[in-house]
Symmetry: C2
Subunit: 342 residues, 2 copies
């Protein structure tokens, strides 16, 4: 068993893990391992918002996808969609780089116009984090559950120790060895017509938490679709509609699409949180997540090692100067705009 924190990022601690050294997790978990030279990664979400799919949307998506394939484009990306609480359709492209110089070369040529050049009847937004490798963590339920930033990893760890208990996400983040990772600030907003740039605070927290049920069959598939997924959906809807007082600035529950925009049997929730502590509190004690955790516990009690669902997540903190949030012509419940005082 190995630590989720790679050797090269381990350092003398001023803050402790929640577990004693003899802790053994109840089931295996894995993390992505980057190549030693990687210092920062980029997680860039390109969103597009519209009432009805039309030529403008398709063209914008195609232009972006074509640009991903150009020189210095992302090492990995995926596409997803959801209908939001205002009835708008949204498509979001999550693009990942592990070499900032490539992103810095690509973005001005192909990415910055995304939420700066207006498209009639269409909203666009860009949400980018550029965290240092000490400020995020991954967790894969299975070594093949490789999604998100893990797709750029050099490899996957062996079974790691820091998982299966509340607070484990924090303990997997290398900076937690010496940093409380806690901000009490709120985002500020800079508006220019239908364009809004959001300046969030240090240690704003993002979680992307996904599930892939493609390989499930029979009883397991039914239990996922009929029991677990509806409970998960209710939790995501709670966060979307009522999460703000608890520190959830925005939550989206999205269906992953293939390159042609067709739904796959993968989904993920992504949510922005005022800080990691707020996410921890919701996860461990809010009735909606207690219900999700209870249902997931039943699920894995029943199927155990035979379960074919794949689960993964990534939790990211970043400094204020490692973030970019731009919204153009989007409704006021889009992304971090939800947190705007009104």
């Amino acid at each position: 068993m190995e630590s989720a924190i790679p050797n090269r990022l381990q350092c003398p601690r001023s803050r402790q893990r929640r577990i004693p050294d003899d802790y053994v997790p109840p089931y295996p978990g894995f993390v992505a391992r980057h190549a030693p030279g990687i210092s920062h990664v980029i997680m860039a979400y390109f969103g597009i918002q519209f009432r009805q799919l039309g030529d403008g949307v398709s063209e914008a998506c195609k232009t972006l996808v074509d640009a991903f394939a150009l020189s210095h484009g992302p090492g990995h990306w995926d596409r997803a969609q959801w209908q939001d609480e205002r009835g708008y359709h949204n498509v979001i492209f999550a693009a990942y780089w592990d070499e900032p110089t490539r992103y810095d070369a690509w973005l001005p040529l192909h990415g910055l116009s995304w939420a700066r050049v207006p498209r009639p009847g269409i909203g666009t937004f860009l949400e980018v984090l550029r965290p240092h490798v000490t400020r995020y963590e991954t967790l894969l339920g299975h070594p093949t559950a490789v999604e998100g930033i893990a797709a750029l990893a050099d490899g996957i760890s062996g079974p790691i120790q820091e998982h299966g208990y509340w607070g484990a996400a924090r303990d997997r983040i290398p900076a937690s060895q010496y940093d409380a990772l806690h901000s009490t600030e709120s985002p500020t907003f800079e508006r220019d017509g239908s364009y809004v740039r959001v300046h969030a605070q240090d240690d704003l927290c993002l979680i992307r938490s996904g599930q892939d049920w493609l390989e499930t069959e029979g009883d397991e598939r039914r239990m996922y679709l009929d029991t677990l997924e509806p409970i998960l959906r209710r939790g995501m809807e709670f966060l979307r509609d009522e999460g703000l007082p608890g520190g959830c600035l925005c939550s989206r529950y999205v269906t992953v699409q293939d390159v042609h925009g067709r739904a796959t049997e993968k989904s993920y929730g992504m949510s922005w949180w005022r800080n990691l502590a707020s996410l921890e509190r919701w996860a461990e004690s809010h009735p909606t997540h207690v219900a999700i955790f209870g249902a997931a516990t039943d699920y894995f009690q029943k199927f155990g090692e035979n379960a074919r669902i794949k689960l993964y997540h990534e939790v990211t903190l970043s400094r204020r100067d490692e973030q970019l949030f731009e919204y153009l012509n989007c409704h006021e419940y889009t992304g971090l705009l939800r947190a705007m005082p009104r």
Copy 2:
């Protein structure tokens, strides 16, 4: 809002709380406050085990209760019973002192014979902790939920900050400011015929966790008795029968009795754990406790501030030299004897 750790026991930390300073609990919780002069308390469990209630048992109980009323007797005690997994009936008297000198004066005269002088056909045992005030914590769901060591308190706190999250019990224990409170040792056993003295390790962990449903009515009473209590019972039975690999050395789920030995509408679980971390892991992630927590969450979601059930607990660690465990003529699944290699 105040800290669970009284001002006089706060000190520079080398270990952090799990929560940030701006944490606000989702509902109120309270702790017992001792008078400033109190340094150690005594929690002494006098148990008696038998197949059938007979004169010998009644006489032993009466003698003990009479002795409680004598000079230097406990400041508070209660009586409970349960039938164990071997079919034996057990009565247990939990007696509390907050002045060790009084206990030290009382015990040799009236208490030490309890598990040293054999009674035909009857087992007796004594389980005593003498923790420093920095090594235990209380939590009361309501300021009137005063049971156990809290009955000796000088008063009850106002609403405290450290509750409503996993790990809060640890954070309420003053020694957690600087001590990992973690032992990896196991008890050792000294046998002399039908007498066994157990020497447990530093930071052996005891939880007494109780419920009082006397004042519940109508829907709430039905939900407690028909839904919550059976789930709680299953969790207690799991710990009793299968808890050992997870670090639970012994678990009893008992009904509190009045002075005449009649059942009341109070119960408590008491369990001995290899260490606090083992208790934390079971509580936050084992399916049996996930179920209890989920059911309790539903319960308080439904009844909220109108709930009339009273919940409390106390979690205690103690040094090896602050413990006394004696078993006389008891079956091999009694108390810490369960952990004896066989």
